[in-house]
C-alpha cells in the first residue's frame, strides 16, 4: 500500500491515462497560517472598535499574515497549474467550486437587499402610518416621509438622497462596458490573439479603477455636501452598506484582474485551458449584475 501512495503523489499526472488520476496536493501549512492571520485580524478589529490601543497593531499583523499567505498560496497554485498538475478533471472541480462560491456571495448581498426591501416596504411605512392606526406617533417628523427617506430620525440631521443620473449612471456605463471588454478579451484568448487579450484586460482594469475613483468621489460628495452619512437614517445605512460592500467586491475583482493580466503578459493560459481567467471573468460579471441591482433599487427607484 505504502508504495502505491508514494506513487500517487510524486508521479507526473501525464503518466496516468486521462480521468484516472486526481491531483491531491502535498501537505501544506498555508491554510493553518491563514487561519491564524484571520484570527489576529478579527481579534484586532474587536479590540480596535472597543478602543483598546493594541487593536490596530494586531489588525496590522493579521493583515500582513493574510496577505503574505494569500500571495504564497496563489503562487503555489499558479506554479502547480503551469507545471501540469491540473488536467480536465481538476479543472472541473475548480469551476464547480467557483460557481458555488459566487452563489454564496449572492446570498450575502441578498441579506442587504432583503433589508432594503424590508425597510422600504414595512418599517418606514409602519412608522409613517402609526398616527391613524394607533392615535399617536413616535416621530412627527415622519409624517411626510417618502422613500428615499430624507430625514435621519427624530434627532437626525436632514440629508439629500443620492440621485441616480449623475455619477451612478456613468458608473453603470463603465461597469457594463467592462463586462463587454472582458468578454472581448476572452474571445481573443479563444482565438489565441494575445494582443487583443492583453488590451481587453487592460481596458477592463482601467474601467474598474475609474469606477472606484468615481465611487470614492461620490462618497466624499455625500459626506461633505449632501449630509448623507452611514448614520443618516436607514437610507444612509442601506445606501452605504450595499454600495460599500459592492465597492469592496469591485476592488477584489480589480486585483484579481490585475493578477491574471500579469499572467497573460507572462504568456500563461491557452485557448482551451484557462480556468483562472474564466473564474475572474465570472466574478467580474457577478459584480456587474449586483451593480445593476444597486442602480435600480438603491439609486433609481
Amino acid at each position: 500500500m505504502a508504495q502505491t501512495h508514494a506513487a500517487i503523489e510524486t508521479t507526473h499526472p501525464s503518466d496516468h491515462p486521462p480521468g484516472t488520476h486526481y491531483f491531491v496536493p502535498q501537505p501544506s501549512l498555508y491554510p493553518f497560517i491563514l487561519s491564524g492571520g484571520m484570527f489576529l485580524l478579527a481579534l484586532g478589529f474587536i479590540l480596535f472598535m472597543n478602543k483598546f490601543a493594541a487593536g490596530s497593531w494586531i489588525m496590522l499583523a493579521g493583515t500582513g499574515v493574510i496577505l503574505t499567505v494569500v500571495v504564497r498560496w496563489f503562487g503555489r497554485i499558479i506554479h502547480e497549474s503551469q507545471t501540469g498538475s491540473y488536467r480536465e478533471w481538476e479543472d472541473k472541480s475548480f469551476r464547480y467550486g467557483m460557481i458555488w462560491f459566487i452563489l454564496s456571495e449572492v446570498a450575502f448581498f441578498a441579506a442587504f437587499f432583503g433589508a432594503l426591501f424590508y425597510v422600504r416596504n414595512i418599517s418606514v411605512p409602519d412608522l409613517l402610518t402609526m398616527l391613524p392606526r394607533h392615535d399617536f406617533t413616535l416621530y412627527p417628523e415622519y409624517k411626510d416621509l417618502l422613500w428615499p427617506a430624507s430625514g435621519g430620525g427624530p434627532k437626525g440631521i436632514a440629508f439629500t438622497p443620492m440621485g441616480a443620473w449623475g455619477i451612478p449612471a456613468i458608473n453603470t456605463a463603465l461597469l457594463l462596458s467592462s463586462g463587454a471588454t472582458i468578454t472581448w478579451a476572452h474571445w481573443a484568448l479563444l482565438k489565441n490573439n494575445r494582443t487583443q487579450l492583453n488590451l481587453g484586460l487592460f481596458l477592463t482594469i482601467a474601467l474598474g479603477v475609474v469606477f472606484l475613483g468615481f465611487q470614492g468621489y461620490e462618497y466624499y460628495h455625500a459626506y461633505t455636501e449632501l449630509g448623507l452619512t452611514m448614520g443618516a437614517g436607514v437610507y444612509g445605512a442601506t445606501f452605504f452598506m450595499l454600495t460599500g460592500f459592492h465597492g469592496f467586491h469591485v476592488t477584489l475583482g480589480t486585483i484579481m484582474l490585475m493578477v491574471i493580466y500579469g499572467r497573460c503578459l507572462k504568456g500563461h493560459f491557452t485557448a482551451n485551458r484557462h480556468f483562472a481567467f474564466e473564474g475572474v471573468a465570472w466574478y467580474w460579471h457577478f459584480v456587474d449584475v449586483v451593480w445593476l441591482g444597486l442602480f435600480i433599487m438603491v439609486y433609481w427607484l
Binding site: 508514494a6 503523489e9 484516472t20 486526481y22 498555508y30 481579534l43 418599517s123 427617506a149 452619512t229 445605512a237
Partner: protein, 540 residues
Amino acid sequence: MSHATTAPHETHHDAHYPGGIMRWLTTTNHKDIGSMYLTFALIMFFVGGAMILAVRAELFQPGLQLMQPEFFNQLIGIHALVMIFAALMPAATGFANWQIPLMIGAPDMALPRINNWGFWLLPPAAILLTLPFLLAVFGIGDGALNTGWTMYAPLSVQGGIGVDFAIFSIHILGISSILGSINVIVTIFNLRAPGMTMMKLPIFCWGWLITAFLLIATIPVLAGAVTMLLTDRHFGTHFFNAAGGGDPILFQHLFWFFGHPEVYILLLPVWGLMPHVLATFSRKPMYGYKAQVYSFIAIGLLSVVVWAHHFFTAGLPVPALLYFMYSTMAISLPLAVLFFCWIATMWKGAMSFETPMLFAQGFIIMFGVAGLTGLVLADVAADAQYHHSYFVIAHFHYALFAGGIMGVMTGVYYWLPKWTGYMYDEKLGKLHFWLTVISFNLTFMPQFFLGLAGMPRRIPDYALQFTEFNAISTVGAMILGFSQLIFAWNIWKCARGHANGLAPAEGRAWEGATGLEWELSSPPPHHSWEVQPDLRQPGA
C-alpha cells in the same frame, strides 16, 4: 483518536508526510481532516455540556445559589453557539470528510487544501467565542455574549464586547461552513465513481448535499445580519433602530432566515445516515430510496420559507402568521415520508440490536416526539402560550439532542470499526445508550410540563411551584452529562484497539452492510480509492 491506529503504518513508509503535530497542521488527507473535525466536535461537546451543567446546577432549586444572572446569561448563549456551531456541525462535517470519498469511490475530497483550511478556522472561532470569559477575569470587557444565541436587537446592539467577539466568531465559523459545503458539493458532483448516477448516490451523500446547498444559501445571510449588527453597534447605522427608520424585527427575520434552515442543516446528515444503519441491522435493502431523496429536496426547499414561526408573538400581521403556520406544518408531510421509510426499512427484517441500531431506535422514537411537539408550536393560536417557555427548550432538545446528537452517535458507532480497524466495546456502547436515553428523557420530559405550566426560558430563578420538575431535570442532566464520558472512553479505547485487545474489524465490519465503503479494508488505505471502482460493469 480514531486516527491513532491508522497513523503508524501510513506515515512510516512515506517520507513525504510530516509526522507529529505537523501532520495535523498540514494534512490534505480527507481521513485526517475528518478525524480532526470529529475530535474537535467531541471536545467542544464537553465544553458546551459543562456550561449547561452549571446552568442546570443553578436551576436545581429556586433562588440564586451559584452564579449571578449576568453569568447565567452568558452560559446559556455560549452553550447554544458551542453546541450548534462547534459540536454538531463539525461532527457532521467530520462524517462528510471520512465517508463521502469512501462511499462514492473517490481518492479524496475534491479541494484538499481548502478542506484543511475549513477545519483550521474552527479553533480560532471557538477561541473567539470563549475568550471573553477569560478576558473578563483580567478586567477587559464584561464577559461573553449575554443575549442568548439568537442575539436579538436591540439588546445585542447595547451589549458589551462579548457581542463583538461572537459576531466575528460567527463570521469565521460561517466561512468554515461555506468552505466545507463547497467541498462536499464539488466532490459529489465531480468525483463519483463512473456509473454512479445521482440516483445511485448513497443516501448519506444526498442528505449532505442538501445540507451544503442550505449552508450556501443561508450562512451568508447570517453573516449579513451580524454585520448589520456590528455597524449598528459601532458605525452609527440604524438597521435595527426605529429612531432611524429601521426595525428590531428585521434582525429576527434575517436571523431566522438562517436559523430555521440551520435546524435541517444539523439534521439532514443524520437523516442521511439513518437509512444505512437501519438497512444494515435489518439485513434488508433500504425502503423508498427515491421517496427519501425527494423528501430531502422538499424539506430543503420548504425550510427557507418558514422562518417567521420562530417569532409568532413579535407582532406580525395576521396574513403572515397564517402563511407561516401552514407552510411550517407542510414540512411534516415530507418528514412523515422519512419516518415511514425508516419503519418500512425495518419491517419484517432480520433485526439485531447492536449499539448503532439501539441509537437509531432511540432516535426514531424521540425525534418523533420532537416532530409532534413541533406541530403544536407551529399552531399560531397555541404558540402564544408556549412561546419562550420551557416547552420550546424541551422541543428543540428532542430535535437536536435526540435527533442531532444521538444521530451523530449512531453514525460514530456504525463507522468506528471502519475508521479504526477495531470493533468498539459493545458492552460499553450499550451501557452508554441506555444511560443516555433514560437520563435524556429524565432531563427534558419534565421541561414540557414546566413549559405548559408557564415557566419562562432563560431565567436563572423561578417560582416555587416549578421546584420538583426542575430538580428532576437537573438530576437527569447530570447523569446525561457524565454518561458521555463512557462515549469518549469507548472511542478512545477503540482508536487504540490493538493495545486494548479489541477484535480487528473486517472490511465489511457489519454483516448486513452494503456500499462501496465496506469494500475497502478497515481502516481504509491512505488514499481511499486510488483507482475508482467502475460501477458501469456488473459485479465491479
